[in-house]
Amino acid sequence: MSTFSKLQQTIAATLKVPATKITETTRDEELAAWDSLGHVNLMMALEQTFDVMLDVEDFPKLNSVPAILAYLQAQGVSA
C-alpha cells in the first residue's frame, strides 16, 4: 500500500468521512470534520499508524494531505 493510501484510510477512519473524499490535495478547510478537535485526533492517529513521534510545534503545519505526506517522507516513512 502506498503511503498516500494508508494516509487516506487513516484520515477517513479518524474523521469518519468516506475515503473517496480524501485526495492528494485535500486540506483541512475542505472537510467539516477536520476541525480543531478532529485535528488533534488525526495527529494521534498519524503517530500510531506510521509509528512516528510528532513535535507539538509541527501540529499546526500538518493541516493538509500534501503537508503530511511531505512530513512523513522527511521522517523516512515508507508504507
Binding site: A13, V40, Q48, V56
Partner: protein, 622 residues
Amino acid sequence: MAKTKFAFDDLTQISSRSELRAALALSRLSLSLPQAQTLSAHAKTLTPGLQPLRLGIVHTYTSDLLDPWLDLAASLEGLEIATYHAPYGLALQEAREGSELLAHQPDVTLLLLRREDIHPDLQRPITGLPPADQQALSGEFVDRLLAIVGQFRAHKIGQLVVSLLPSLTGPGLGIYDAQAERSESAWWASTKTLVGTRIRETLNATVYLDLDEILQQVGRRSFFDQRYWYSARFPFAADAARELARRVVSVGVLGKTPKAKVIVLDADNTLWGGVIGEDGMNGIGLGPDYPGSAFVDFQKRLLEYQQRGFILALCSKNNAADLDQVLREHPHQVLKDEHFAARRVNWVPKPDNLISLAEELNLGLDSFIFVDDSDHECAAVRHRLPQVEVIQTPSRPVDVPTCLDHVARLEVLTLTAEDLAKTEMYAQERRRREFSEQLEQGGSGAGDYLAKLEMKMRIGLDPAEHLARLSQLTQKTNQFNLTTRRYDEHQMQGFIDSDDWVVADFSLADTFGDSGIVGLALFRKLEAKRAELDTFLMSCRVIGREAESAFMHSLLRLLADQGIEEIVADYKPTAKNELVKNFLPQQGFRLGDDGRYRMQLAETPPKPESAFPIQVDMPIVA
C-alpha cells in the same frame, strides 16, 4: 485451550463480545486510534444488538478526545454510547433544572476534575505548607469537592462518577518525598481517603473513580502525553484513555445488565494446574512453585471476590472423593469446603449442573459467571445457556490470577454488611437444610421445623441507615418481587424522607444466625385513607419460613392503626416472578375488574402476630 497470543487481526475474527474482551485483556496489545475504531465497528456488528448507554461529562479539561475510546469500551460491552460533553470548565450551571445535562437524561455522569480547580491553593506546591496547614487545606479541599459533587447529586443524572486528575509530575520532594514531613504523596493519600470516606458516608449513587489506580496500572509515561496536554488540554495517552473509558463504561454496564451474583468454578486447570484424577494429590500444580504458585494466587483472588459480595460455587467433572481430598488435605489449597455455597462434582453435562445450581441457590442463571478452561465446556454453556457469562481460564498459568479483572459485572459500587456475610449466610442455609432433613427423618412435619427455628423478625421503618441495601434489593431481587421496580439510592432516599411513603424492611434471625436485611415494602399513601403497595419483595434466601406473610400482616396492622382503610396492590408479571403470582390473593387481597388487587382492612382484618411462627419486633410509631 484458550489462545494466548493475539495479533490485532486475530481480534477482528472473534465473534463474541465476552471473548473479545477477554482476548484484549490477555493480549496486552496497545491499540492505536485507528485500530480502536476498527475494533469498535467490529464489536457493534456482533449479537446481541446494542443497548443504549447515555453518558454526561462535566470536565475542566478536554474530554471530547475520549469519545473514540468510550465508543470502543461501550461496543465491547454491547452498548451504544451517547455522550453529552458539558461546556469546558466547572460547569455548575449544569447542576440546575433545565440544563442540557439533565435534558440528556444520563445513565452515568462523569466529573473529570483537577485538584487545582477545587482549591486555588493547590496551584502552589503543597510541600510549601507546614503539616498543620496541609491538614487544614485537606479539610477545605474535601468540603469544597463534596459541595460541588453534592450539587450534581441533587439531580437525576444517573450514577455519578467523580474523578480527579493525578499530578503530571512525580511528588514534589522527589525520592525523599515518601519520608518527608511535608510529603506531597502522603498528603494526597490521606486527602483521597477522606474523599472516599465522605462520599461513602454522605452521598448516594456516587462513586469515586481513582485515576491514580489507572496511572499505576499503565505507568506515568504511558498515562500522560505532555504534547496533547500542553497544546490541547487533553492529558491522556492512548493506553490511559482506553482504560479510563473501560472503567467508566463498566459503571454503565452495572446499571444495564443483570447483576452477577455467583462465580461458578471448574476445578482441574482452573483452581489448580493439571487433573486431580490423573495427576493425584502430589502431581497437581498447587503450591509455592510454578505453575502452582499462579493457581494459589488465583484462589486468593477468588476470596477477594467473595469480599465484594459474590458467592462461589463449584462445578467440575471429577470423582467427588478426589476433589474432597484436595479441599480437605492439600496443604496449599486456599479455598475450602466452607467457601463454596454449593457444588456439583459429577459427570453430568455442565449446563444441566448450572441449571440445578440455580435452583438450589434460588438465583437466576443470568446472575452466573462460569469459569472453565475447556473449549468444549465453555462452548456448551455459551450455546445452551446464553444468559450465563462465560470466562475461559487462560491456558498460560501466569495469566490465570488476573483473568477476572476485566469483567465489568464483577465490579461493585457499594458494599453492604449483607454482601460481606453472604457466604456465611449460604452456609447457615445449608445447616438449616440438614436440620430440616434430620427432623423429617425423625418423623416431624414442616410446622415443627419452623417452630424449632425460634425465628425473630426485626422490622425497620424509614431505615435511612439501610439505604444502600434497600436500593440494592430493588436492583437484585427478581423472583420474590411483585412489581420489579428498580430504584437507585437517590430515589430510595426520597421515599424515606417523604411523609407520603412508608418504607419498611426486615431482617430475620433464628437459631442458625441472622439473615441481614432481606425484605422491603414500599407503600404510598393516597387520598381518602387509601394506600398503594408500590413494592413488595424478599430475598429468596428466606423463602419457605412464612416471613413474607408475617411481614405483610405486620405492615397491614400498622397501616390500619394509622387510619388506612384500603390497600391497592399490583402483581406485574415478568419472566422471573411467577413465584409470587398468587401471593396477594393468599394474603386476602381481592382481584378487581381493573386487574388491580384490593384489601379493605375493616372487612379483612390483618392477621395477628401469633398467626405465624415468628416473633415480630417493630418500632412504635407515634
